[in-house]
Amino acid sequence: MAFGARAQMAQIRVENLSKTYRIAARDPGLAGAVRGLFRRRYRDVAALNNVSFALERGELLGLIGPNGAGKSTTIKILSGILRPSSGHCDVDGLIPWEQRIAHVARIGVVFGQRTQLWWDLPITESFDLLRDIYRVDAARFASTRERLVEMLKIAPLLDTPLRQLSLGQRMRCEITAALLHTPTILFLDEPTIGLDAVSKLALREFVKELNRTDGVTVILTTHDMHDIEALARRVLIIGNGRLLRDSSFESMRSEILGERRLIVDFASDNDDIASHGATIRARDGRTVEYAFDPARIAAHTLIASIAAAHDVIDIRVEDPKIEEVIARFYALHGAVES
């Protein structure tokens, strides 16, 4: 990838970004609690450690990592909510936490577990309020709103207060709310959390469409690998505050997900099942699950070798579950918080 060219025209530049939280700690027990009243001890926790990347206008970036990896911290710094402990970042030429007001007027943010709409207000009134808060021109607001309402199919919900909506309905309204001022960047922090399958699909379709037709840059964090698979052309994997990988989804898939599964139902119980150059991942009675790298051993060679040694009833080749592989990747890189 031509990194030099990318850095030049990057919309978002992140350089050596670190964020350390100070967390009050105390010794256990009553004595510790009493001591804590007089002298507070603090423990430094590095949420983000020297993270650098650059992003071009119109990219669709997936940010993944286990809980506590630093995904939300990254989003909060990029959106101007948090100030990093060190490092630099600029978005469209602005430093988010220093030029916060100008910066946040140009971005849209959705936190999957939060709401930016007013709990007791009908959705349409919340939208009007956002129009005034973002100082959106009335005519432009009307056309943006009309288009979003149609794309996200929320027309029947507009007169209902937020508190009476289901999670899926709410998320569609939240996304509309984040886009009413036509931001050039959309941050989605776990937008599909808790959504049913239909809502997830609709949401992915919408985000893809928005990115394609409007050129909106999208940064997405999620734990749902299907979100990443459906949306992200580029993936950053973060673990323990460090950037572990920055690659296209396709190359991540072939490198990390390069493994294939071969599931074999044997005709009889065998104790002497060999690995035939693959790895035995699991065994359940007469069913054995092999893992193999197609670059090293071709599927037909492996199948021929197994079939030559034993009586076989059925053979299936599968991709490993993406969650499983990602979990192994995290474990391998010590990414999971202790």
């Binding site: 909510i81 936490w97 207000l121 005034d132």
Partner: protein, 273 residues
Amino acid sequence: MTAAILPYLAILRARFILMLQYRAAAFAGFATQCWWGVIKIMVMAAFYAGAAHQPINLAQAITYTWLGQAFLALLPWQADAEISEAVESGNIAYERLRPVDTHLLWLVRAAAMRAANTSLRLVPMFIVAAVLLPLAGLAEWSWRLPPNLAAGALFAVSITLAALLSSGFTVLLNIAVTALKTRRAANIAPVLVTPLSGMIVPLVLMPAWSQPLLFWQPFAGLVDIPYRIYFANLTGVGALAGLAAQALWIVLFILIGRAWMNRVMARVDMQGG
């Protein structure tokens, strides 16, 4: 110009309308305030029966009490509930995603909350204490009108300043809640506000030596100063000094609030990895 203040006006209007919906709470509050008003007036009458000479007379003390009940909702004894909830749920992050000045936004929101709550209670209290009581032959226990037009006009200015002062202090409470991440951070407020505003005992009835201190501390501007202006106990230079004290503390609360907010927002971690 209009574009600059548009967001704040929008929030002010929305919040005001929203608060007006809480009629049931306002009605319950009104009933409680009538009851407390009666008790306070009885205590005041007992006190005056045994006292020789006081800086304000019984009729003024009674009017003071009714004013206190009518404008009770103006007092800043808790943080903005919306912001407390946002702090505890993590929604507070969205406050920083608005392209507006957060301190001014919170100030406007607090002002809308206090104004809406007060206007819901003010009118019925006036009807009961200033209109119905005299009609029932209890004129000596009633809420009297200001003695002259000038006192009434000065009171209008002073009570507006009291609302701003209250809002400025509410924002300080909001920031404390944000910094400590619990609404209990605002529990200090009633302890300071209730006695020091003159809500329990009119500050003028306190010992003479304490008068300058009580007059210039921030909370006198919430109750004692505007009410004494109302029944012309504070006039001329005294009234102007009262307005100056209110203005002084409004400015200080805002300056302190802005500096403190910058510090807190730079450090607060806003929950979650």
